[in-house]
């Protein structure tokens, strides 16, 4: 098989699997559906791993080619094509591996669901869409993948379409994402207009020529073209990667089944925005203003969304807010021009967050779909594998030295520390404070779920037991990279130049090579060992300590704090009012405008006054005219005489 065939098969296998499992769902049956889709995604994963092997170890040069021509018009060629370099290969491997784990896990999680085949069809379709997104060599295909993953996300959040909360959440997710896509599409249009192409390579080549261009948007004020483009594109990323204020859809997306929370809303789709900015680093590097904007937005998300995680009681929502916060960390890294570090955190996060979500799902299965942590506790003795893997995921999340999350998160913090753009000071504070908060909510979740007294009812407790192998095996397989992948990949990926063919950083901005590399002079082991002595580590330990004290030793304290700090608690519990802003203010205003225009504009003014009004006018005029034709001869004779007199009089007078 040629490499082109392999690359074509990677997205097509899950597409075909999805079509078969979805359209022939009755013919293939439940087992048929999961075998077909799992084999398809396993095939993709194996081929992706092979491609990654070729790229990273056998020096496969960057491939950039067109698969087919989508359209040619007006001198523009729209292509569907693949760009395969180190970044793509990394993303393909992560996506297909996590997807495979989630597919297997789903057999257990969705075991009794009547929509079993439909679910497998959707997640297979998702894998196709995500692969198209990461493998794209042009903006149009990127946008295709971007919206297609949004479609599948919509379908999956609303998978249990009888639940009102689920179908509200999926509509909200799609619409909020569309707000982001609105900006994204404008950015793409600007690129086509000013650079004459939608192909990445051609656009990157055209960047220097237009870098100094300014455009007038409001009156005569000149805006840097590159800043406008970057901010438009980043608005798309804010929607997809759930950055404040477009983050509101992600917590609600937890209404969907847990496997997709792990796959779509933690590991892959939500990181598409991060991937996009990294992929387009040659464009983003040209605008310091845009990068500062990204830095600040990311910092706000990292800190403030983490805070909400502390007050959540639904186990999935804690992980969801944690995801928001971690996406904020990745965004901060992008804003600091540390694209490779962002991608590195994207990868480690994909493993440990998928692990945490699937672990939460395992608990949910054991407790028969209860998600409230106040009704859990002490589960470690019933489900040891789930508890152990959740500990691994949690330690990775808080950045405990040697765990994969340690390397990525520590380097983000260091990168921000050395970054010199406006906003970096605030961002540094936010990511440092975020460390305490992350540790706090993570260990709160661990203790409330797995340790301390059991708080569920007797019925539930008597049924609580470890989940079957289809659930625990994926947990174990995800725990391994959560533990170790950071240690083994940090040096080659960040300092060995493995991503240097995809990511372009200007010399002055390059904190990774200029500053961070020095810290690795003695290798990853020494770096991790040194990690025990940094302030970051002690901040994390502070969070762990607070959690341990409150949730293991002094359970009443949480309520006391809540009462004392009621205002702060309320603000967090209401999520700063963003939901109200979107639902009541913005959606409300939209619907108000809609009904105003419909009733006032269309029905009253246009139809009422203009259309039917003119009909009435014709009616009145013709009614008046009808009076003229009364049929009585003396009326006509009278008019004739008057007219004749008037005519003669006018001749006489006017002459």
């Amino acid at each position: 098989m040629s490499i082109e065939t392999v690359l074509l098969l990677i997205p097509l296998l899950p597409l075909v699997g999805s079509a078969v499992a979805g359209l022939l769902r009755h013919q293939v049956g439940r087992a048929g559906a999961h075998w077909i889709t799992i084999l398809a995604v396993a095939g993709s994963a194996a081929l992706s791993a092979w491609v990654a092997w070729q790229v990273f170890f056998n020096g496969l040069p960057t491939l950039d080619y067109s698969v087919y021509t989508w359209a040619v018009t007006d001198g523009i060629t729209f292509e569907v094509g693949f760009l395969v370099d180190s970044l793509t290969a990394l993303m393909m491997t992560v996506v297909t591996f996590v997807s495979l784990m989630v597919h297997i896990y789903t057999i257990g999680y969705m075991h009794d669901d009547p929509g079993y085949q439909r679910f497998f069809a959707y997640i297979n379709l998702f894998t196709f869409a995500m692969l198209m997104l990461v493998m794209a060599n042009n903006f149009m295909q990127l946008f295709f993948g971007w919206e297609a993953v949004g479609l599948v996300s919509y379908l999956l959040i609303g998978f249990w379409f009888k639940k009102d909360t689920a179908v509200r959440a999926n509509l909200k997710a799609f619409l909020v994402n569309r707000v982001g896509d609105f900006g994204f599409l404008l950015g793409i249009a600007a690129i086509l207009v000013y650079m004459g192409s939608l192909n990445y390579a051609e656009v990157f080549a055209a960047v220097p020529a237009v870098e100094g261009t300014t455009i007038a948007l409001f009156g005569d004020t000149q805006w840097s073209l590159m800043t406008v483009i970057c901010i438009c594109l980043f608005i798309g990323a804010m929607g997809k990667s759930a950055q404040v204020p477009l983050h509101v859809w992600l917590p609600d997306s937890m209404e969907g089944p847990t496997p997709i929370s792990a796959l779509i809303h933690a590991a892959t789709m939500v990181t598409a925005g991060i991937f996009m900015v990294a992929r387009l680093s040659p464009i983003f590097e040209t605008s310091d203003v845009a990068l500062s904007f990204i830095l600040v937005i990311g910092a706000v998300t990292a800190l403030f969304m983490g805070l909400i995680g502390i007050v959540q009681n639904d186990i999935k929502r804690v992980v969801a807010y944690s995801t928001l916060s971690q996406l904020g960390y990745m965004t901060v890294a992008l804003g600091a021009s540390a694209y490779s570090v962002a991608i590195f955190h994207l990868m480690t996060h994909a493993f440990f967050k998928a692990l945490l979500f699937l672990g939460a799902g395992s608990v949910i299965i054991a407790l028969h779909h209860k998600q409230d942590m106040r009704e859990m506790g002490g589960l470690a003795k019933y489900m040891p594998i789930t508890a152990a893997t959740a500990w691994i995921g949690s330690l990775a999340l808080i950045g405990f030295p040697f765990f994969s999350g340690f390397f990525s998160k520590d380097l983000i913090i260091e990168a921000v520390h050395y970054a010199e753009r406006p906003g970096a000071g605030f961002a540094y504070f936010a990511v440092m404070a975020g460390v305490v908060i992350t540790a706090l909510y993570t260990f709160r979740m661990l203790y409330l779920t797995f340790h301390g007294p059991t708080r569920m009812d007797e019925e539930t407790r008597s049924h609580a037991h470890e989940t079957p192998a289809v659930v625990t095996v994926p947990l174990i397989l995800l725990a391994i990279p959560s533990l170790a992948i950071g240690y083994f990949t940090v040096e080659p990926l960040l300092f060995g130049g493995a991503l240097s063919d995809s990511i372009v950083v200007r010399e002055v901005n390059d904190v990774v090579s200029n500053k961070l590399a020095a810290k690795f002079d003695h290798g990853a082991f020494a770096f991790a060992l040194h990690g025990f002595m940094t302030p970051v580590f002690w901040l994390a330990m502070l969070g762990v300590g607070i959690s341990t004290y409150i949730y293991l030793f002094n359970p009443g304290l949480a309520d006391t704090i809540k009462r004392r700090l009621y205002l702060a608690w309320t603000i967090l519990d209401r999520k700063y009012g963003f939901d109200e802003l979107w639902q009541k203010v913005l959606a409300g205003a939209g619907l108000g405008i809609a009904s105003g225009l419909s009733k006032g504009g269309d029905r009253t003014v246009i139809d009422g006054w203009l259309v039917n009004g003119s009909a009435r006018l014709v009616g009145r005029v013709s009614g008046a005219m009808r009076q003229l034709q009364s049929g009585f001869l003396f009326h006509y004779a009278f008019v004739m005489v008057v007219a004749l007199v008037a005519l003669v009089a006018s001749f006489v007078l006017l002459r």
């Binding site: 040619v72 149009m140 971007w146 249009a189 207009v193 948007l217 809609a594 419909s598 246009i606």
Partner: protein
């Protein structure tokens, strides 16, 4: 084989078929449906020959037929097609087949129903192929009659108001077209559209001619603010009538602007493009909001159509703004092609959405959104199609709904950031009204006994929706063949309208 007068056959076979169906209807009603289907299929088959024999590298009129009709006034029976009319004719013959299949269950005077639709499609084919302005005008007006009957006989309770409104609006507009055509004849001595394209005349008369054409075709598109007949007509029309109206008849407006207003009076178009662009953007944004407020499914889709047609008129008139603002023409053809693609795509998607409403209406006899809820529970396959088409309607990439909008938005950015900004609002509005409808109708618990007793699609409905789904996805994944077919004609038109004709 290609010596056949294909365009005449396409126009007159369905009319002969209609006569036969009427004649047959009295004696053997059982044969009415099969015969109508055969006629529609033969017509569709012949239109494929047109496609097969068409030279896509040329902007010339092809399959030309010409005969003297009224010698005294230099009027000809003159037919021919180029890359702008061929796709519309293909769409028309395809929709004709679907409408005949869709009307299979009509019990009230089925022979007249079928005859009306066959005639309607025949007249529309003739109109798209007409190269003589007066012949065009005759088809344009004649077409009103079957549509008038379709709504007036097989329509809903308020059909009389709707038919009269439909007729008066269109007729009001077409009077201006007739005046313009007569003035042009007196000025140029010809009714041949090609002669009128070449005819040079001053700016002031051009503006009058342009406005006359604009009024005539704006009603058809329909453009804001002469659009209010459309929701009423759709609501009252039977399913087949709505499908034809949305899928094909609205395209006559766009086609007329391309064939008459732009090339005959390009200088006026260049002067008044702000008017059309403004009205188009109002259509996209304002009507997008209005659609959001609808409680009747057909009205919602009708408003959605008006909003989507905004992209057609926007795309067509961007060329002048692009030339003015950038000093070059890059992007002008993109907008024009995008407008054409949007017309074809809207034919598939809106046709499918009206069929989908028909599927529900046949079972429950209500078009109110609030009469439904949780339909996906009882009709899962139907829900799949519905989600596909409403997603396509909201411009999802990979479906045809994306292609035209994408091209027009890209072209709009060439002209002005703010044009693109306003047009891109459809991303949010289109998704909002489409998916909110899906949520209210298809998702949730089974809302009432009517929904509980729904039966999923039958074979006939499967067939119709599958055909449209294949075209919707096919055009979305690979629009190349369509765009390639039109490209020479589009470039030719762009080149033509950039030449001043004031002499």
């Amino acid at each position: 084989m290609l010596d056949w007068p294909l365009l005449s056959l396409l126009t007159w076979i369905p009319i002969a078929g209609a006569v036969a169906v009427i004649a047959l209807g009295q004696r053997s009603p059982d044969l009415v449906r099969p015969l109508s289907l055969i006629v529609a299929l033969v017509t569709f088959g012949l239109s494929l020959l047109l496609y097969a024999g068409f030279d896509a590298t040329s902007a010339q009129m092809q399959f030309v037929e010409k005969a003297v009709w009224i010698e005294a006034f230099n009027i000809h029976y003159h037919l021919g097609i180029d890359g702008l009319s061929l796709p519309l004719i293909l769409l028309n013959t395809l929709i004709c087949v679907l409408v005949v299949v869709g009307g299979w269950r009509i019990t009230d005077r089925p022979h007249q129903y079928m005859a009306a639709f066959l005639t309607l499609h025949a007249l529309m084919t003739g109109m798209f192929a007409a190269l003589d302005a007066l012949l065009f005008y005759v088809f344009f007006e004649a077409m009103l009659v079957p549509m008038f009957l379709i709504i007036g006989i097989w329509g809903g309770p308020n059909r009389i108001y709707a038919t009269v409104k439909f007729f008066l609006f269109t007729f009001f507009g077409s009077v201006f077209m007739l005046i313009a055509l007569l003035w042009l004849y007196l000025d140029s001595g010809s009714f041949a559209i090609a002669d009128l394209h070449r005819h040079e005349f001053g700016l002031v008369p051009q503006i009058w001619v342009f406005l006359a054409f604009l009024i005539a075709f704006a009603v058809k598109v329909p453009m804001w603010p002469v659009h209010t007949w459309l929701p009423d007509a759709h609501v009252e029309a039977p399913t087949g009538g709505s499908v034809v109206l949305a899928a094909v008849m609205l395209k006559i407006g766009g086609y007329g602007l391309l064939r008459f207003a732009l090339p005959i009076s390009p200088d006026a178009a260049a002067h008044l493009d702000w008017l059309v662009i403004g009205l188009s953007l109002i259509a996209i944004v304002y009507i997008g909001f209005v659609a959001l407020a609808q409680s009747d499914m057909k009205k919602l889709i009708a408003y959605s159509s008006i909003s989507h047609m905004g992209f057609v008129t926007l795309g067509m008139f961007l060329a002048f703004a692009i030339a003015r603002n950038t000093g070059e023409l890059t992007g002008a053809g993109l907008g024009m092609s995008g407008a054409m693609v949007q017309m074809i795509s809207h034919g598939f998607i809106s046709g499918a959405m009206f069929l989908a409403v028909g599927v529900l209406y046949d079972r429950v006899h209500s078009r109110e959104i609030s009469a439904y809820g949780g339909v996906a529970n009882t009709m899962p396959w139907f829900a799949m199609f519905a989600v596909l088409f409403f997603m396509a309607n909201s411009g999802l990439p990979g479906t045809s709904g994306f292609v035209g909008e994408f091209m027009v938005i890209l072209a709009a950015f060439h002209a002005s950031f703010w044009f693109a900004f306003a047009a891109a609002a459809t991303l949010i509005l289109g998704a909002a009204y489409s998916l909110w409808l899906v949520k209210r109708v298809f998702y949730g618990e089974v809302a009432n006994d009517n929904v509980a007793s729904l039966k999923d699609l039958d074979g006939r409905e499967w067939l119709m929706l599958t055909v449209l789904a294949v075209f919707t996805l096919g055009l979305g994944v690979w629009p190349y063949p369509l765009i390639d077919l039109m490209e020479p004609s589009v470039q030719n038109l762009v080149g033509h309208i950039m030449q001043s004709k004031t002499g």
